[in-house]
Symmetry: C2
Subunit: 578 residues, 2 copies
């Protein structure tokens, strides 16, 4: 069982059938065609040599096929992780230097170790700290930063920077050097890709193609752009005319290498590797789960961590960059009919062949073409309507989202994500630190107790019933103290206070002490504290505490029982209006 759990391969390989293999092969061919330009482009985006993207698309895919639980996820370089890789490496080395390349490899290895460790320790829940608005804001802002960072390739100028301010300033300084031929080729590619994305499918369908075929043909537009511009660059010798080309790429499969073992560098990259791991995992799992659900399959998130960890370890040890499950490729893989993770392994074979055969051609690929494919790809990440939706639904969530976006755009991806996580946790704690509470009274003639502000109920001037609608824990312990003591101070005739607890799922040590303090203070003030409707598990824990042994009043099973015991008929319950 445990072996099957940690080697999901064993779940499908023994029953692997010919028809499945055929479907997987078709999907693999389509995904390979899509992945070649993507892997080159995302290596460029990360500031790495083109072959690093290819290397990250071979061994990782094979390892994910062995250890991953999604049947259709397409693992490899993705845009956001490439951006985060560049951001993490920026402080330690200059792009193009051997230290920079070694850092990328190390990031992949560290991310692989972290993901695997999280999976073995079942720490997948850590990803929950990234709330949806934070992730959505982060992806939108990352998309904008990525698009901005590619403008320099489109214009053929030098520029640098890791946020909109830096990139903008850098571009503005160098705008004068814009290289006409580069811009023409880049803009042309961009227009073609936009046309392919927005119009091509409906035109193909009108011309008689099937919808799925048209869809897949549309997705291969980037490789067409790559082919045509590469041929142009080769045929016309555009490199000599100042158009920047990818340049010579080492031919052959990647060599297995070990990452640098410099402790100082490991420390410097730790935060970056952690963020890459968590963001990559969250993205990957949500794509994987969406696709799995369509076929009533399921993902094991802790095993997914191990699968992605293995993939990243593989990437690092074979000279690649950090990888994760990509959204668009996985959807194409699914739509193209992939049945098992074997499709990923076949894709790896495709990329390996490309690495062996195509590298001489890749040397002629213009970088401006890759920049155009990146810009079109990340445009789909930018989701402004999500901002409006979140604003309408919840102001606190919007606040966390906006902070993430603003900091990612204007400072750095790390700052954006850390601020977003911090703010969403803070806002949640703030919300639960002021829980809803209500004084309740008896609905005449019944055993029901309702809010005296909203209902016609019986109350007693000497006995109050306070209902708290939240678990009691440290963030609202003081609030409880204040609420209760306010009540006692404002009602000088008060003799008994009943805390009505049906909505209290937890009383932590802070809240317990607060209740003990409340009990002592009320005893000092001559008021008895009672509890009613305490849930079973909560009461089990309270049993042996000072709170119960020193309680001024009693613990009642029901609020009505407390009413019958404490409110004597002679007291003449008063009906409160409002």
């Amino acid at each position: 069982m445990s072996l099957k759990r940690h080697l999901p391969l064993l779940q499908w390989l023994p029953q692997y059938r010919k028809e499945q293999a055929a479907s997987d092969l078709v999907a693999a061919v389509i995904v390979t065609v899509m992945l070649i330009p993507q892997s080159l482009a995302y290596a460029l985006l990360a500031g790495l040599p083109a072959q690093v993207g290819l290397y990250a698309s071979i061994l990782p895919l094979v390892l994910y096929a062995v250890f991953g639980t999604s049947r259709t996820l397409s693992v490899g370089p993705v845009a956001v992780v490439a951006l985060m890789t560049a951001a993490a490496l920026a402080p330690i080395a200059a792009p193009g230097s051997p230290e920079y390349l070694a850092g990328a490899v190390l990031l992949a290895v560290m991310s692989g170790l972290m993901l695997t460790a999280m999976g073995l320790m079942k720490l997948g829940f850590l990803a929950n700290f990234l709330s949806h608005p934070v992730i959505s804001g982060f992806i939108t802002a990352s998309g904008m930063v990525i698009a901005a960072s590619q403008l320099k390739h489109l214009l053929g100028v030098e520029a640098s920077g890791h946020n909109l301010l830096e990139i903008g300033e850098s571009l503005a300084d160098n705008l004068g050097q814009t290289h006409g031929p580069t811009l023409m080729m880049g803009a042309g590619t961009l227009l073609f890709l936009i046309f392919a994305r927005t119009r091509l499918k409906s035109i193909l369908v009108r011309l008689g193609a099937g919808i799925r075929a048209a869809d897949i043909a549309t997705k291969t537009a980037p490789i067409l752009a790559v082919l045509v511009t590469t041929l142009l660059a080769w045929g016309l010798g555009l490199g000599a005319h100042g158009i920047s080309l990818v340049g010579e790429v080492p031919s052959g499969l990647p060599q297995l290498t070990l990452p640098p073992m410099d402790v100082a560098v490991w420390k410097q990259l730790a935060v970056g590797a952690l963020l890459i791991s968590v963001v990559g995992f969250v993205e990957s799992v949500s794509v994987g789960q969406t696709l799995a659900a369509k076929r009533r399959q399921r993902l094991d998130p802790d095993q997914e961590l191990i699968g992605l960890g293995a993939a990243n370890l593989g990437a690092g040890l074979s000279g690649g960059m950090p990888v994760t499950g990509g959204f668009s490729r996985s959807v194409v893989n699914f739509d193209a009919g992939a049945q098992t993770p074997a499709a990923g392994a076949y894709t790896a074979v495709g990329i390996a062949l490309a690495t062996l055969v195509l590298t001489p051609a890749i040397a002629y690929l213009p970088t401006t073409t890759l920049a155009a494919t990146i810009i079109v790809a990340v445009a789909t990440l930018i989701d402004f309507p999500a901002l409006r939706r979140t604003w309408r639904y919840s102001r606190p969530d919007f606040g966390a989202m906006l902070a993430t976006i603003v900091l990612t755009l204007l400072h750095s991806v790390e700052a954006g994500i850390v601020a977003g996580v911090g703010l969403s946790i803070g806002l949640f704690l703030y919300r639960t630190s002021r829980p809803h509470s209500a004084l309740v009274g008896r609905v005449p003639g019944t055993e029901h107790f309702r809010n005296i502000q909203r209902h016609q109920v019986e109350t007693s001037p000497q006995v109050s019933f306070l209902r708290v609608d939240e678990s009691l824990y440290f963030a609202n312990a003081r609030f409880l103290e204040e609420t209760v003591m306010d009540l006692v101070t404002r009602q000088p005739q008060l003799k008994d206070l009943v805390l009505v607890c049906p909505a209290v799922n937890l009383i932590d040590a802070s809240a317990l002490e607060s209740l003990e303090t409340i009990n002592e203070r009320m005893t000092d003030a001559g008021v008895r504290l009672h509890l009613s409707e305490v849930k079973g598990p909560v009461m089990d824990r309270l049993k042996n505490t000072q709170l119960i042994s020193r309680l001024g009043g009693q613990v009642f099973l029901s609020t009505f029982e407390a009413w019958r015991t404490l409110v004597t008929p002679a007291e003449m319950p008063v009906t409160s209006a409002r």
Copy 2:
């Protein structure tokens, strides 16, 4: 109203009566006698010249009397804040240097500004982030570090360090230089103070003194020790025999001064000032509230922030160190009969007189005496039984407490408190990220639905009812997705799933998206999602969302209504056992 709120002075001064003034004066005399040695000792503890403690006990008390809301709180230097002051200043300057003194003054000013700003912005809830186990562990560990740090004065050796490891190592190195006469005087003082604290009261009572008089006489033991040892040092010229004395103290009242305006120093001290502010506030408010409750008075926490902020600003601007409300002095003030904050102002006059008159005598005060008074004072802070109590009640709370203690003892006060806060928040989020949920079925013949694992209930193979016992928010959104999709994957005949929501007080944007995703996935899988018993305010927000407009199923007011609609009699409900 607002003026009265922000100037609590206006609430009591207009009705100030002679009898109150008499009570306040008596209390002020007793507190002054107690405060003189304490203010000197805590200045020593913070590594500051003795007069800084006195300065911090004049203007701050007057300002707190104007702006504070507690009637009996005694503001001034306290042990834990003095330790935190020393820890915050350690990285920026050497004790005794002018930069160190300027840093202490700046810490008080920054803390004053932070507290006042928090009060004006009603940010008192930030103190809630310090859970009781963390505060308790922090105080216990601080007490131990403080006691250890004073051993050098008792032994008459040089030593330094801000945690047990550093102090221990430093003491061990210098133990050979122990100064006999100093140790004799220190140990004698220590034994006397321990005797006074543990036995004196009962002896005095047996000799016929009233309990309260005996109690107060006991509290004045430290000043007696100070008097006797100072006279000895002066009379026998002990300074010349190598016993370390406080030395010359500038006579006269403090001068108003401005703190250094060096931005770099402000940045370096920011975290320390924040921690001092928050810890000081939490300690002060809990003492203040305990005392106020005994007389059915109340504290306004946000105005307390302003009161303590003003006190710290006053401390900083008059050359003092950070202050807060002290536990033992406040209790003495209360017991001695203080009626209004005027008692604090009278105490300030007492300390001012001492500063004018007693400084020549203070020069002869042995530091070993002050060390002994500190050790005895902080011994009461150490609360080991709280560790056992917390262990018994709640393992997660114990974990946070232990982390705080270990890091405070072995690393630093900052690390201890930050780790404790981080861990308690993390553990709370973890607990709520895996909420209790249960499949429920109908109790035969009723409209009640209970857990199918615990009760004999009717269920249907095609309709499941899932109850979630927690608000839905980002930390459990993914858990919800997994729970629901597991359910759907495991029950191939399932046609309808009803989410039963009476315990859901909040659905944040993440949970909303998760529900939308769940709904889409279930629609893909041919299962309809329904909701039942959604609370009013939660439903108000959901109304205009995609979740409701695209919901595969319906929203039912009650679970029984859902049962009646979805479970047709022909389906033959099955009674499940266990």
